[in-house]
Symmetry: C2
């Protein structure tokens, strides 16, 4: 008797600190491997887990998406609970659902949303050390805000692309950006003055090149410090010259928030 | 020539996850030891570091206070930078200042403020796993708010005291409480509905008994679940019976926010 094939979509949160990233690397544990191992243990099958995209070592996810096919009869929404009981605490399946067989976490994706957190204070934070990029210089948030808006629209983002990616074109469309100072709960405001020292940068688009968000975040920080003027961004984009953009910001400030389908 | 003795006050943030707590325990590293080691290395002396109070293993601090005497001539505010360069990343000196010789971090303390974070969602959080207490049952925040206010004032808190503490009296005065639902940045709101799933409980008083805040937090959770009515709190306090209060909530949701002098 033929067994019915089903396609299961997972929405995943992970703390990237202890992983080589989403995808397997030599001599390092990848998030993908951990989840695939748990699925195989649960289903007794040898499933292939397809992720929406890679994340680098140290990068976090609030809403990474992946899918796999299975003939298991486990109800779709039960997969999350069953897999969570097999996974380490720093990887959590937030949602599991059945989708049509043609759903492909990578190829079906229409867009992604990322968040980048910057901790701007005169001393580092113990509690946010693996959650936000520590910048001790006073940042000009207004200049950063204006600069962020320059990324909106359709551009060739060659200047914000690291070597090593496999994308054929470097044209991408950015549909939304925001940059705001946030209330930081994990700081002792009363002792030490204002705790509005967390800067949240969000960016949404139809796709992102290798290290693109981290290079944009690094450029915004250089603008915040005053090393680059905010209105240099259109010229940097136009130049398509990686050397003119800022340095790549570290991975631990970056979060893959959402994949849109 | 006699060397001038100075008294240095430190304000300290730490991630308690990897420590046995503030104070040294057999076979486990304590936050106090790490800082004392760094001070001794920096000053070449054998200083005694006095903390405002102990915190248990896994408990965090945003504003723990400690002091030590030294004849070192390092400017007071430079101690923080010098010590941070010697300390592991999960311990950060946020402020260092010179205080009068009679200042004693423990005996001079007039009060303390704690925060307890609860993550209330149907699935756990990978990123907050060591920062907030995960409670999967839907919590009645209004009932918890009303219950929290019952702790205000001067009471004998024997019902909220674990054995093992050395305090002579169990009478304490609570001067401020608050309980609010917070915006949780580390959750993918758009994918998964509201991210108002972080509950922040704050409590301030002239002193706290052993495990008192964790037992109060555990009691508030039982009230939120509906296991106890909110108006049972005055009776539980009055009973002075530990068995009538709720279970001790886990350490990783607790933060020492501030010590008042």
């Amino acid at each position: 008797m033929e067994r019915l094939m089903r396609n299961i979509k997972l929405t995943i949160e992970y703390d990237g600190t202890n992983y080589s990233g989403w995808q397997s690397q030599k001599n390092a544990v990848a998030v993908q491997n951990e989840i695939q191992k748990a699925i195989n243990k649960l289903t007794g099958e040898n499933c292939l887990l397809i992720g929406a995209g890679r994340t680098d070592a140290g990068v976090h996810a609030l809403g990474q998406v992946a899918n796999f096919r299975t003939s298991s009869k486990i109800p779709a929404d039960k997969f999350s609970y069953a897999l969570n009981s097999l996974l380490p605490d720093d990887i959590v399946i937030k949602k599991s659902e059945e989708v049509s067989l043609d759903f492909h976490a990578q190829y079906s994706a229409k867009g992604k949303k990322y968040m980048y957190l910057i901790y701007n204070s005169n001393r580092p934070s113990a509690l946010l050390r693996e959650r936000a990029y520590f910048v001790p210089q006073k940042l000009d948030v207004d200049a950063m805000k204006k600069a962020a808006e320059c990324f909106l629209g359709t551009h060739d983002f060659s200047a914000f692309r690291a070597t090593g990616g496999s994308a054929k074109t470097s044209v991408r469309t950015i549909t939304n950006v925001s940059l705001d100072v946030c209330h930081n709960m994990l700081d002792a405001c009363n002792n030490l003055g204002s705790c509005n020292n967390l800067i949240k940068f969000e960016i949404e688009g139809n796709g992102f090149l290798y290290n693109m968000v981290r290079i944009i975040a690094g450029t915004l920080v250089e603008i915040g410090i005053g090393k680059l003027p905010w209105d240099s961004v259109p010229g940097i984009i136009e130049s398509r010259d990686r050397k003119r953009a800022g340095r790549t910001a570290p991975p631990h400030g970056l979060y893959l928030v959402e994949v849109r389908y």
